[in-house]
């Protein structure tokens, strides 16, 4: 992280508007995709599209694409530990055997 005085990176207006258009388009895709039954993949499709939208907001609107590595690590660690929490909760819950099971 440089501590010297330097100009902040200014993202051009056109980029902001393009990202906004992409976000609106992906919202339409989210609603459209929900009408189609992908079976077990339904949640994955919805969260996949949401994550693309989230990356656009983080990268451009929140300037992370041009920011220093430390801020990326901070937010990345938050997401990483959330996924870890989710992962171990889910493998616990889906591998339980019901009490009335004959296994």
């Amino acid at each position: 992280m440089a501590h010297g005085t330097h100009e902040h990176h200014i993202i051009p207006l056109k980029t902001y508007w393009t990202v906004f258009a992409a976000l609106i388009f992906l919202t339409v895709v989210t609603v459209a995709a929900a009408q189609i039954d992908f079976g077990a993949l339904n949640a994955l499709v919805a969260f996949g599209i949401a994550s693309v939208k989230a990356s656009l907001v983080l990268g451009i609107f929140m300037h992370l694409k041009y920011d220093n590595m430390m801020n990326r690590v901070i937010i990345g660690s938050g997401v990483f530990f959330l996924l870890l929490f989710w992962f171990f909760s889910i493998i616990d819950i889906v591998t339980r055997i019901p009490q009335n099971s004959t296994l």
């Binding site: 501590h3 200014i10 919202t27 919805a46 901070i74 819950i93």
Partner: protein, 227 residues
Amino acid sequence: MSTVKSSSTGHHHAHHYESADHEYQSSKQGVWLFLCTEILMFGGLFVGYAIFHHLFPETFKVGSKFTDVRYGATNTVVLLASSLSMALGIYYNQIRDKNKAVMALLFTLLCGVIFMVIKYLEYSHKIHLGLMPGDWYRGNAEELAQYVGGLEIPKNLPLYFSFYFMMTGLHGIHVLVGMGLITWVTIRTARGEFGPEYYTPVEGVGLFWHLVDLVWIYLFPLLYLVS
């Protein structure tokens, strides 16, 4: 480039920073650390949702019938537009266009108001039907039948509304807090306190507002589009 000690905005960096940029970077890093804790706080609710949705898929399917995807989609577009205008509020401060910066920030605030009005309409509909969380649930199975298209009303339907109100409620509180913060930076922008050399508070509030949008990006498919 020469080091600018004072600026046209009249802001001097605090003495414990080496330079204005050091102050800017440190402040921003603090906001990112705070956003990390926000992700973990909302994350608990998301993981709870995942667990209970897995255990009682029917409850969540029936519960989501009481949400209106048109309201949810409208609010998604409203928040995305507000995110754009928030980013533009920073952009216009960066190029010293005070009037446009104020306009962009006021538009952001207006979007926040629209979001909360739609939220109010959604909440009153549910409260009217008695669809409250946990013990406050007063739903009448016969009255509710017309909304669910032949599906049976599960006994633990209040569970869905516990998640619904907790998640959208916590998110709504964030929208209100964000609106307060935007009002603050709008006034300061209008007073000419910000410019290309110093706009740290606008950047920080912007990051917070974008996080509120990020949470909604995930809440929308989760609560409105559960199949």
